[in-house]
């Protein structure tokens, strides 16, 4: 009997039918990985408004080349704006940096002109400015206005501060000798400094024209200056008249020209003339006190060292003196002065100010004093002089309120007046009447002996050789010397005489101008109202 035993085989371990699903899985995985690797990034951009943004339609452009599309626009949870979800092309992936900027390009009408007119037909789009930072980012906050300067543009970014807001606004031109070299990027009010702040950008290569001696001034509008020489009208370009602008340059006489770093700070002056009046930025405040009359000493009066201007008078500190309480009827009146190291041809910097303070401290020990001097006898204007007086005893700097004080001495006409007054007082105090009466009595008496006469003469001799009389002679000589010194001031070559002469010439010029105007009005009273018509042009004449 044969056993019909079924043969059992283990069968094939892998069925061919599984190849198809496995292949499908592999292809699916490859498609997922390929898509993940080749698909462009998705980013979000926050804007304040969705004006011009449309899901599926609004494009993202870089240099007018489309690099993406807005997929969705949704309100932010706190309703403070909208968030646009944007799908970018793979090529834009490397451009997404921390400082990459986005803004909506749409038609805009402003004082500076009309822009984005093309979007009226094509629709608004989002422009991208690639960043240069190393860190990457996928969520951005869009700009409300197009940036004025591209990221990474070569040039110099500076900050200007002004005491008052003029008509300068964002986008206004920055000019050098009338040529546009940059623009105002932003304006704001700095609450800490209580000044208006302007952020400006100077394009390369013109940023090389800016150095520590550069001054900036406002050239907005039209400047009209009426004086004895006539009326002067100054204007910038039409753009700066209407919109405002900033100009810069180097005032004559500014010595140190050190390079400046990015974001350096400068003062914005109201006009070019202001930069000439106050060309220096750094200085030190001091207080000098005088017992003399301060009539003629006005804010802005010069502070001079041997005729060289080293600073200016800021103001008389009478309010501060009153607040401290007057101690007597001869209290010295404090005057605040401002000394600028830049005027001495040393760098206009804070380091120079520190060095100047140290120098003044040592100089005062060696006899340096401040004096009140008459600058112009015709107008009575006064100035403050600083000089060395070797006869003065060594002194130290003092303090008033929070200011350092420099010791003062009396000189010039005021000192002469004081000394003359003291001399007359002493003359009055001499016993001259008694001496003369004694001598008369001695002469009248015939019986008086020679001894009595000698005694009388001896008495007179005693009086004349007394300490008071000797001192009187010395003071008389000193007073006459001082008087000669003052009278020398009126000689033809003296500075005082030149000032007086210049003032008289200026007065003469003013009178001549007035005469010319009077003659014109006398000849033609309506010349101010009716302009001459059909008047031929003046003919250029060659040299004779």
């Amino acid at each position: 009997m044969s056993e019909n035993k079924p043969s059992v085989s283990r069968g094939r371990k892998f069925s061919g039918v599984w190849i198809i699903p496995l292949l499908a899985v592999a292809i699916g995985a490859w498609m997922v990985i390929h898509t993940a690797l080749t698909e462009g990034p998705t980013i979000t951009i926050d804007f304040k408004t969705a004006e011009g943004l449309e899901a599926g339609k609004t494009k993202i452009r870089l240099l007018n080349h489309q690099i993406g599309l807005v997929e969705a626009v949704v309100l932010k949870p706190d309703v403070s704006g909208v968030t646009a979800t944007v799908k970018l092309e793979p090529e834009a992936k490397s451009l997404l940096r921390e400082d990459t900027r986005f803004w909506v390009v749409r038609a805009r009408v402003g004082a500076g002109g009309v822009s984005g007119l093309g979007t009226l037909l094509s629709g608004a789009y989002i422009e991208m400015a690639p960043g240069s930072a190393t860190a990457k980012r996928k969520a951005f906050v869009g700009l409300e206005e197009p940036p004025l300067t591209p990221v990474g543009a070569p040039g110099l970014r500076l900050t200007l501060f002004s005491d008052r807001a003029g008509s300068i606004g964002t986008g206004n031109a920055v000019l050098y000798r009338g040529y546009e070299v940059g623009r105002v990027e932003a304006t704001a009010f700095d609450t800490k400094r209580k000044k208006v702040r302007y952020d400006i950008f100077i394009d390369a290569p013109f940023h090389e024209l800016v150095h520590s001696g550069t001054r900036f001034w406002d050239i907005s509008g039209i400047s009209v200056n009426a004086s004895a020489d006539g009326i002067k009208v100054k204007t910038g370009s039409v753009e700066t008249i209407l919109l405002g602008g900033v100009s810069f340059g180097t005032p004559p006489g500014v010595g140190a020209r050190n390079p400046v770093a990015d974001h350096a700070e400068f003062t914005l002056y109201g006009s070019y003339e202001e930069t000439l009046e106050n060309p220096y930025q750094h200085g030190a405040y001091y207080v000098v006190s005088f017992r003399q009359s301060l009539r003629g000493l006005v804010p802005g009066a010069p502070v001079e060292y041997r005729g060289i201007q080293v600073g200016r008078v800021e103001r008389v500190l009478i309010k501060e003196l009153a607040a401290q309480g007057m101690k007597g009827d001869n209290d010295p009146i404090p005057v605040l002065i401002y000394l600028e190291p830049g005027r001495l041809e040393i760098p206009d910097s804070e380091d120079s100010v520190v060095a100047l303070r140290s120098d003044i401290e040592q100089a005062v020990r060696r006899g340096m004093r401040a004096t009140l001097q008459t600058g112009n006898l015709l107008t009575g204007k006064k100035l403050i002089g600083v000089d060395y007086y070797p006869d003065e005893k060594p002194a130290e700097l003092g303090s008033f309120e929070n200011y350092t004080t420099i010791p003062t001495v009396e000189t010039g006409v005021d000192l002469l007046q004081t000394q003359a007054s003291a001399l007359l007082k002493k003359l009055n105090a001499l016993p001259l009447e008694e001496v003369v009466a004694g001598a008369s009595k001695a002469m009248a008496s015939a019986d008086d002996t020679l001894i009595v006469l000698q005694s009388t003469l001896g008495s007179a001799n005693t009086v004349l050789s007394g300490a008071d009389t000797v001192a009187l002679t010395g003071e008389l000589t000193a007073t006459l010397q001082k008087m000669r010194f003052v009278l020398d001031g009126f000689s033809q070559n003296a500075e005082l005489y030149k000032n007086l002469n210049a003032s008289l010439r200026s007065l003469d010029a003013t009178l001549n101008n007035t005469k010319s105007l009077t003659r014109q009005l006398s000849d033609k009273p309506n010349s101010l109202l009716l302009p001459a018509s059909n008047e031929p042009d003046p003919i250029p004449r060659a040299k004779q």
Partner: protein, 186 residues
């Protein structure tokens, strides 16, 4: 009353009766052969050319002895100075330097150097001279570097009376300015 009205009428008609002088216009063109045709493309060109506001108008300008500036109403440039100066200076600089000078800004991308010019003063004066004050900068457009910054100030005596002589003198001055600019290119 009637007499007064007649008097006013006579005054006004008398005012309208004056003869208007004729308008004379002048063209600023170089007398030199100018740019040589067939030369290599210009590697240097005139970039921005600006003029001061007071000469940015058609009338020729004359400064009187008292410093007053008068703009002629009957003697004018035939075309805006900004435009004629550009081609005039380009031709004159090309002649002086012996190299082609571009005058059209739309070709600026091909330039290696750019000259920006500002004309600050251009007028006749009471001394019988024409005056020209100008500034210019030469810029390396590739490196964006300022190569030189120069100022020019000169006068030219008028050969005779009248505006024609003034125009000739101003042309001579502009020719000298072009030569000075050409010297800074070498």
């Amino acid at each position: 009353m009637m007499k007064l009205l007649v008097a006013i009428l006579v005054v006004f008609t008398a005012g309208c009766g004056g003869k208007t002088p004729e308008l004379t216009q002048y063209l600023l063109r170089t007398d030199t052969p100018g740019q040589i045709t067939g030369q290599a493309p210009a590697s240097t060109g005139i970039g921005d050319l600006t003029v001061a506001s007071y000469i940015d108008s058609p009338g020729l300008v004359l400064e009187s002895s008292n410093g007053e500036v008068r703009m002629a109403r009957h003697h004018q440039w035939a075309e805006p100075l900004r435009e004629s100066l550009r081609s005039f200076l380009a031709a004159e600089i090309a002649t002086a330097s012996g190299q082609a000078i571009g005058s059209h800004k739309h070709r600026a991308s091909t330039w290696k150097r750019r000259i920006d010019i500002h004309i600050d003063q251009l007028h006749g004066n009471a001394d019988g001279d024409a005056t020209l004050v100008a500034y210019w900068v030469v810029i390396d457009t590739g490196k964006l570097k300022l190569l030189s910054e120069t100022a020019f100030s000169d006068t030219e005596p008028l050969a005779g009376d009248g505006y024609e002589a003034l125009v000739r003198a101003e042309k001579a001055l502009l020719g000298r300015l072009a030569a000075a600019i050409a010297a800074t290119l070498n």
